[in-house]
């Protein structure tokens, strides 16, 4: 056994290519995509009966690098605090897989990938992708890894939607689902934010109808889009605590420079994002969020829960995906008599809490996984 809290260590992103040749991936839109490349990482070891695999799914702009660090780098993965020996997703006990999404730009096929038909990046030729399509691609990965049934599928925000989609689309292939800070569907408010994000990118003349790959990113539009995103990830209180009205240089400049710390923070985040995320991918992935809808009985079929256990987690100060949306998930599961645990964590971090509230989430996830793994008698009360 490794020591408690020990890090995962050096990891490497791997890639699976499939759906090349005669059988491309059929998408929800009716279009096809192929070949498809999917980036993923794994931590820990698959046990002999292949029953200890956990699929971790990421939010909008993250990637397959959830834990550990790359050779020569010290930067940990985006959920390193949660994945590793002795942590919530204990890699001494479980085989943890983190899969990227198609449509993104972090090693999986997306609008910035080369279209083999034209020899140029897809740009807007890339078909619209749904959360269902992302999960369908991940299903190929899980098949490839030889896993019939995942012990757990988990994710926050858009990762939570993918987790819900796994339950809705492949109920027999998951034993437990942990949707965090997510929803059955985007509300008009969330769609509205995403539309402003997209319009901001598309209004930048350097976006060039999506054909900017020979010229460089539409930097202003993408940076502003990300600034808006960051506002929605924090809470009023967390912004007060982090920045208050503190001034960068002690005085008002009486110009339109970044006087307040919060302004320079947003500018920094926006500019930084341009270096690491493709503008077209942002359009595609936000569209996937908006199309997602497993409300009205679509989450759980008429057969009930197929013995899936759910752990639904929300955060009190999250106004982007507020607790009421997680409660909608819980209500849906109650109607179908599913085994569900729900906790609204009293966090002040806003939507970002799923990345930051490590202790509380660990206190929920560790025992929940333990019970699931060691054959819990599922409460299957009759409908």
């Amino acid at each position: 056994m490794t020591k408690k809290g020990h890090p995962v260590g050096v990891v490497e992103t791997q890639y699976l290519t499939f759906a090349g040749g005669a059988e491309p991936l059929r998408l929800e839109s009716g279009k096809t995509l192929g070949p498809v490349r999917l980036a993923y990482e794994t931590y820990g070891h698959l046990n002999e009966d292949r029953s200890n695999a956990i699929l971790v799914l990421h939010a909008l702009s993250a990637d397959a690098h959830a834990a550990g660090h790359f050779k020569g780098s010290r930067d940990p993965g985006w959920w390193d605090a949660m994945i590793g020996p002795g942590k919530a997703f204990d890699t001494d006990l479980y085989f943890v897989i983190c899969s990227n999404v198609i449509g993104g730009c972090k090693g999986s096929t997306g609008p910035s990938s080369l279209n083999l038909k034209t020899g140029k990046p897809y740009g807007l030729e890339f078909p619209i992708i749904t959360i269902g399509d992302m999960v369908e691609a991940q299903r190929h990965l899980i098949d490839f890894l030889g896993i019939d049934q995942l012990l757990c599928v988990v994710g926050g925000s858009m990762g939570g939607m993918q987790a819900l989609q796994w339950a809705a689309g492949c109920p027999k292939r998951v034993r437990a689902v942990i949707p965090i800070a997510t929803a059955l569907k985007n509300s008009p408010q969330q769609i509205a934010f995403n539309e402003v994000v997209r319009q901001s990118i598309m209004a930048d003349p350097t976006w060039r109808e999506g054909n900017y790959y020979d010229y460089g990113q539409p930097e202003r539009g993408l940076a502003i889009a990300r600034m808006l995103g960051h506002i929605t990830f924090m809470s009023d209180q967390s912004m007060e605590e982090k920045f208050s009205r503190r001034l960068k240089n002690g005085n008002y400049s009486f110009k339109f420079g970044a006087d307040f710390e919060v302004e320079s923070y947003l500018r920094y985040r926006g500019d930084n994002f341009v270096k690491r995320f493709d503008a077209n991918s942002y359009l595609y992935v936000t569209k996937a969020l908006d199309y997602f809808d497993v409300s009205n009985g679509r989450l759980v079929g008429s057969n009930g829960c197929e013995r899936i256990r759910f752990l639904v987690i929300s955060f009190k100060s999250d106004w982007l995906y507020p607790p009421y949306q997680s409660q909608e998930i819980v209500k849906e599961l109650k109607r179908k008599a599913c085994d569900v645990t729900y906790c609204e964590i009293a966090s002040t971090y806003g939507h970002d809490a799923f990345l930051l509230e490590v202790k509380e989430q660990t206190n929920l996830i560790r025992p929940f996984l333990d019970k699931t793994f060691h054959g819990y008698e599922v409460a299957e009360y009759a409908v």
């Binding site: 109607r335 008599a337 645990t341 729900y342 206190n363 929920l364």
Partner: protein, 198 residues
């Protein structure tokens, strides 16, 4: 036979619950009762609890629990989802009492309800002799910090059952360590009823 270390009300409830039952525990607290029923009666248990700290305790015990208000949390359950719906030491903190009972009867075959008896001798004497609001082992709070919003006696509750056409299948009256046989409205610190539709 359960050990004397187990709380008397929990022992009685464990005796009432049939093996393998489906149970919903409303206001399940730290999950001690659910854990007991899961372990001793192979019951399939689910809880609803408002207190976040108690949620972690339940999950730690491997129990399924929903963080929320029992007054809002029952409507979605299909009819007859459970064998027993338990309201142990939680009804005195419920505002919408009628609605909770109505929903509990809809989703459960029986209701098991336990509450502190406000007309217990100790409470009466505090009121009568000292002229103060009762503070007893079953009613341990001062008037200004009590979570209780309903103050009821055994007689009150029996009347409630008549008015709401609730059939009393079993009644248990609890002294400190054992059941009380006589004058329950005077001598019982806590009461426990098993109810069903007429």
């Amino acid at each position: 036979m359960l050990s004397e270390d187990v709380r008397l009300d929990h022992r009685i409830i464990a005796g009432v619950v049939e093996a393998g039952s489906k149970i919903l525990d409303l206001g399940c607290g730290n999950g001690d009762l659910m854990y007991l029923l899961a372990r001793e009666k192979s019951a399939r248990v689910q809880g609803i609890e408002l207190d976040e700290a108690a949620i972690y305790e339940c999950v730690k015990k491997g129990l399924s629990v929903i963080h929320g208000d029992i007054e809002e949390g029952l409507r979605e359950y299909p009819d007859a989802s459970f064998d027993d719906v338990i309201l142990n030491q939680s009804i005195q903190q419920v505002r919408k009492v009628d609605e909770v009972f109505e929903q509990a009867l809809r989703i459960g075959r029986r209701i098991i309800v336990g509450f502190p008896n406000f007309a217990h001798l100790g409470a009466r004497s505090m009121l009568f002799f000292r002229g103060t609001s009762p503070m007893t082992k079953s009613l341990p709070y001062r008037w200004n910090d009590t979570p209780n919003v309903r103050f009821l006696s055994v007689t009150d509750f029996k009347r409630f059952c008549v008015e709401h056409a609730l059939r009393i299948l079993e009644s248990h009256y609890l002294g400190g360590t054992k059941e009380v046989r006589f004058w329950p409205n005077l001598l019982a610190k806590d009461a426990l009823f098993v109810l069903a539709k007429p």
